[in-house]
Symmetry: C2
Subunit: 229 residues, 2 copies
């Protein structure tokens, strides 16, 4: 989302694109290592002493990282140009080890798509993606489609239809704008597994009043917001 000082958590730090890329190269690999640790913590069968030692070692790393930290969540940060950085986001955040993370592609017509992998951390029924994870991913995907078409908004309603189990592994999600009227945009999407569509979604995305006011008053040289972060 575009920067607006009226909503807490949208922070303008004016970082250069070069500095943003440097940070991405620094934090991305740490986050990936923690993601692997989440997976290994679920799946490990090492003996009890090794588990206790791992716990102590992780606690020690946490203490070091917490010697200097943000007071709250990451929020969305804005550099000198372009898109915000929702790096704590639970679906796409490059600093969030609980995020798969999805890398989502868009076009200007309101289409979005992503190829991604879900491992042991996303399990519901055995070997299957948790139904709630599918809904979480589709919420993000539909919101991104709305934004890609120039109609960003926050989720108003979301309906999921579960056609069959979604196996853990390599998956694809696709979303698109169905129609829009004023501040409301209807988007649709689905998740595709090895045997076709597993879950379908439809949602209404609504641009809130504060955002409409912010858009009306923002610097006209800034790019149109592409999605609602």
């Amino acid at each position: 989302m575009f920067y607006t000082p009226r909503v807490t958590g949208y922070v303008k730090d004016d970082l250069s694109q070069e500095e943003i890329e440097r940070q991405r190269d620094l934090y991305g690999p740490l986050t990936q290592a923690v993601r692997e640790l989440v997976d290994a913590t679920i799946r490990t069968t090492v003996d009890d002493d090794e588990i206790r030692q791992a716990q102590a070692d992780v606690e020690e790393i946490v203490a070091r990282l917490r010697t200097s930290q943000l007071d709250g969540p990451y929020g969305v940060r804005f550099g000198g140009e372009g898109r915000g950085r929702p790096w704590g986001n639970t679906v796409v955040g490059v600093r969030n080890a609980a995020a798969p993370p999805l890398v989502i592609h868009h076009d200007d017509e309101g289409n979005a798509w992503s190829d991604f992998h879900l491992g042991a951390a996303y399990e519901g029924p055995p070997n299957l993606v948790h139904g709630g994870v599918s809904s979480m991913i589709l919420d993000q995907m539909l919101g991104e489609a709305a934004g890609a078409g120039g109609k960003p908004g926050m989720t108003g309603t979301l309906t999921l239809r579960y056609r069959k189990g979604t196996p853990l592994g390599d998956l694809r999600a696709e979303s698109w704008i169905d129609r829009s009227e004023g501040i409301k945009t209807w988007a649709k999407g689905h998740i595709i597994g090895p045997d076709g569509v597993t879950v379908e979604a439809e949602g209404v995305f609504i641009l809130p009043k504060w955002a409409r006011e912010a858009i009306a008053t923002q610097d006209p040289t800034r790019p149109t917001p592409k999605y609602f972060e």
Copy 2:
């Protein structure tokens, strides 16, 4: 869910209740440490060398944990008595650091409730819970209500209505059975923040054919399954 050898990932290990509690006391604290690490990785502002050192140290722990591990996800494991252990589950799993985790209470009338905390790892819009996280939690909550009322099932459809933003922090979720007909159960629920209900959900849960067959043939001395894991 009850144990059935016909579906991969439901594993009967016949652990005693004492051994299960011992494992919970062993893995719970490691998982909590990793959960703290996920949060610290999002929020830390230590210098670059500290980040690189943390990455190396985490990678070393992962390598140790991976010297012996399950081939795939955790699945649901069954001891000698009672409930399964969905310890890798992305919402409630005691070994899953990506899970808040929710501790969900039930009664026999199909009501479920949970008080839980969502921190920086669950952010969507700044300072707010990701809409997809709310849908994920409500999917689990509605499924647990259906199971609590003796009507377990897999999610067929799920509809979310977002009334207002859900702030990160201490939250409550409640769910209940609305009605049921044959293999279909309609459940409802909501998330409550400091200013009241933020998201409402309604879903249909359906007992799949393989589960109906498994129930019909299972050991009649086993307890009725309380929810579909």
